[in-house]
């Protein structure tokens, strides 16, 4: 009876001390654990971001690889490692050079379409001039009407199709593909779509602005065309005797 009061007081003191210990002093360990977990989360977020980046890059190269396997061309995949070293050229640097068999004037494409042309080759790197640069010109044609013209970049960074025949029925939205008359690109690779057709009254030819199919600033990987079977333009035309006779002729 005499001891009950002090015991209760002692018990309550013990409880409050224990509670304080558990909730405050022992929390130091929890705080350290919390800091450790935060660090771990940051590490995992960094790792996740790295893996995501690798996955996106792998997907892009997988698309290129699939195209590489199915396209009737011999191509070499290359990664873009730099852009616009000089202000006056629209160019990019790829990680393949003479040691990989790259030569100047080779065409550069993606699974979407034409990118540009190799203009300089170093030992381990090459410089690719984009289609939007005025120093690049390739032959192209309207996919539906088969009218041919010259595709060239402009100083403003757009792409134009020049020297279209005056009577060509070219329309906005028509697809433009390579015509295969030059040695660097085979016939039928997608270049873009006609955005605007212009023909002044005094002009001999029509011209059109092209929206490129390839988004140049977002490119991360490309394919360099190392070999393809160009159309044999040196072959002599068939003689009149070998042509099939028109139906109904005697």
């Amino acid at each position: 009876m005499i001891l009950e009061g002090p015991l209760q007081v002692m018990a309550s003191i013990q409880d409050s001390v224990g509670e304080t210990w558990d909730h405050y002093v022992a929390l130091q360990q929890v705080w350290e654990e919390n800091q450790g977990l935060k660090r771990k989360i940051q590490e995992l977020q960094g790792e996740q971001n790295r893996l995501l980046e690798q996955a996106i890059l792998a997907m892009e190269f997988q698309k290129l690889s699939l195209y590489q396997e199915t396209a009737p061309l011999v191509t070499m995949p290359a990664r873009i490692i730099g852009r616009n070293v000089s202000n006056w050229y629209r160019a990019m640097v790829i990680d393949k050079g003479t040691r990989d068999g790259i030569r100047a004037e080779m065409g550069v494409i993606t699974n979407a379409g034409v990118v540009g042309r190799v203009v300089r080759v170093n030992h381990a790197t090459s410089i690719v001039l984009l289609l939007s640069d005025p120093n690049v010109a390739i032959t192209g044609m309207i996919q539906t009407s088969r009218d041919e013209g010259i595709i060239q970049g402009t100083p403003q960074g757009t792409i134009q199709m020049k020297y279209l025949p005056p009577l060509s029925p070219v329309q906005v939205g028509d697809a433009v593909v390579t015509s295969g008359l030059t040695d660097d690109f085979p016939r039928g690779l997608h270049i873009g779509k006609i955005q605007q057709v212009t023909k002044a009254a005094t002009d001999l030819f029509q011209s059109g602005d092209i929206t490129p199919i390839v988004d140049f600033p977002k490119l991360e990987g490309v394919l360099v065309i190392t070999s393809f079977q160009p159309p044999n333009t040196t072959e002599s035309p068939p003689s009149i005797d070998t042509l099939p006779a028109p139906s109904g002729s005697p």
């Binding site: 616009n84 070293v85 006056w88 050229y89 170093n122 410089i127 005025p134 100083p155």
Partner: protein
């Protein structure tokens, strides 16, 4: 050792130009970091070091650009040399002086590069290139060079104060 440091600086600048210059671009206008480096080398040292730094960084830039080898080397070498020569013509190289000289050198180098890259430009296209690209770019480069010059000047001053204080002790 100093030569190695200069080469590393030149290579680093060209790599930065090829990779991270897009971060510095304003309205699709890229600063020519190599020209800025050549001019700063001239302003902060003398015309000979400016010339050497300009030639080196220009050569590395030529190796990674589609134009002919030698153009950037000559232009950057001249820019570094002329920037260095201004340290003799004016008593103290100030930030406004850096802005003015870099602006003029950027305009001249840019115009030469433009004419070499696109010799067949007509009048309207040339006017467009100068007014929309060349002039704003030259202004941007001159402000960038002045900013780095000011920063370097401040660091040098603080270092010299530390040396002076250590000498007094």
């Amino acid at each position: 050792m100093i030569i190695l440091l200069h080469i590393v600086l030149c290579v680093g600048t060209v790599v930065a130009q090829a990779t991270i210059s897009s971060w510095l671009s304003i309205n699709s206008m890229y600063p020519d970091l190599c020209l800025v480096l050549a001019c700063l080398a001239g302003f902060l040292t003398n015309e000979y070091k400016g010339l050497l730094m300009g030639l080196t960084v220009g050569l590395f830039q030529d190796l990674l650009s589609p134009g002919g080898i030698g153009l950037n080397m000559i232009l950057k070498g001249l820019a570094g040399s002329l920037a260095g020569a201004t340290t003799h013509t004016i008593s103290t190289v100030t930030v406004p002086a850096v802005v003015m000289v870099t602006l003029v050198l950027s305009l001249v180098c840019g115009l030469a590069s433009l004419l070499m890259a696109y010799p067949a430009l007509d009048g309207a296209e040339t006017f467009h290139a100068i007014s929309r690209i060349l002039a704003p770019q030259a202004l941007y480069q001159s402000v960038l060079a002045a900013g780095i010059f000011w920063l370097t000047h401040k660091i040098r001053q603080s270092l010299s104060v530390v040396h002076f204080a250590q000498g007094r002790r």
